[in-house]
Symmetry: C2
Subunit: 233 residues, 2 copies
DNA sequence: TCACGGATTCTTACGCCGTAAGTGTGACGG
DNA sequence: CCGTCACACTTACGGCGTAAGAATCCGTGA
């Protein structure tokens, strides 16, 4: 909104633009994130943004990468060795969910756009190291990491999507509780008794099931008993 | 494209419109699904569609409901009693994945729009019945069904999204295999050795892990040994 | 000192979108 | 036979992403 004469610099950065886009999407929703409006927020015309971003799609990709980049460093802040692969996966899942919830605007994007950046590659490499050290075959480790990531994003997105609107909207608890109890006895009972269920607890239970399932199907003990690193590297 | 004079009926139906929209989205992608183009495919102006659909968002919701409606009836075609809750969940997961893969156009929508229709409610009620009969607490059964649905959609969406474009695009196998092997030893090895990995096998492994995890965390035996229905109902 | 060239920004414009509002036309019940 | 109503069309508005080009500022070498 600052008054600048033509040609005067606004001092923009790709980082600033992504920050503003993230804030706008979180505040007003994805549909409100338009190039014109984003430019207006930065005191600049829409076309100016194209000097920092090749297209709007690229900008959206940048948003997803940004959110993942904020989530990943936390995932392995617990230690250096491979103390407990399950705890590592759990920490990763919790960190990713927390970051996604803080940026509900990009949640629909994250579900459809895989983010590939050096930061995510580093994190995947570390995760593979921990899982293979615990006895996972490499292929199973890749599948486990991929499945967990996908699951966390999707579960969190569903959680956030259910949050908007009042509880009487179709599909929400109060609406389900008002269904025909003769036709849907279990559904209505669940909606009534579980109305106050904690989203975090649901998420925890679901990720625990998935992580536990990894251990069982890969034939790996629940805890890696060897505390030290393996002999090579 | 048929020549009709003004006011002459085209004989449209909401069903026809949804069918055409689904076909168009699958053929040309979601971005190509516009009201004008959809109308053109049906030999009608765009505004005419608004006599059958209140808005484009409602049309998209209809597409998701349609896809889920096609997937669900298959889920319980195996029997009447509750022979094996794990087999039931597996059949549901496989049926849903198959239907979603047949309609890649709506996959991004399914990830963001929960479909609530009588058909889905019936399916959920049946699923809850099977799980509680197998020993699941009601709350755990709800979480399990919800988690599985969300996971199947997300995993399939990721699978389909990775399919488009050549294998050398960022994030794809060939691209990963070309990374710095010194920095990403496990990642590059996985990309090279697992290049021919089967998507269906990955999906099967992941859903098996999740379903197995449900059994473990809910304290339910892997197979419900009682073949007959319970005494009530 | 000053011209110059690249970086940055603005202006204009095009074709597309979803859809509000109003107009015409055919089919059908009285 | 005629109203009436469902169906289809026309027109129009505001907004979108972005291509093309003009204007301005600033660092640099002559």
């Amino acid at each position: 909104m600052s008054t600048r004469s033509r040609g005067e610099r606004a001092g923009l950065t790709r980082e600033q633009i992504l920050d503003a886009a993230l804030a706008l999407a979180d505040r007003a929703g994805l549909k409100a994130l338009t190039m014109r409006r984003l430019g207006a927020e930065l005191g600049v015309e829409a076309m100016t943004l194209y000097h920092y971003v090749p297209s709007k799609d690229a900008l959206l990709d940048g948003l997803v990468e940004r959110v993942f980049a904020r989530a990943l460093p936390l995932a392995d802040a617990d230690g250096d060795g491979a103390p407990d692969w399950q705890a590592m996966l759990r920490a990763y899942a919790d960190a990713l969910r927390g970051t996604l919830l803080r940026h509900p605007g990009v949640l629909p994007l994250a579900a459809a756009r895989p983010a590939v950046t050096p930061a995510t590659l580093d994190a995947v490499e570390r995760g593979l190291g921990a899982l293979t050290a615990a006895g996972f075959p490499l292929g199973a480790a890749v599948d486990a990491l991929n499945s967990l990531s996908v699951f966390v994003v999707a579960h969190t997105a569903a959680e956030a999507a259910a949050e908007e609107g009042d509880a009487t909207a179709p599909g929400r608890a109060d609406w389900l509780a008002g269904l025909d109890a003769a036709r849907y006895p279990l559904l209505t009972e669940a909606a009534r008794t579980g109305a106050g269920a904690d989203d975090a607890a649901r998420f925890h239970a679901a990720t625990t099931a998935l992580i536990t399932g990894f251990a069982t199907t890969a034939g790996v003990p629940a805890h890696s008993s060897q505390t030290g690193p393996t002999t090579d590297d």
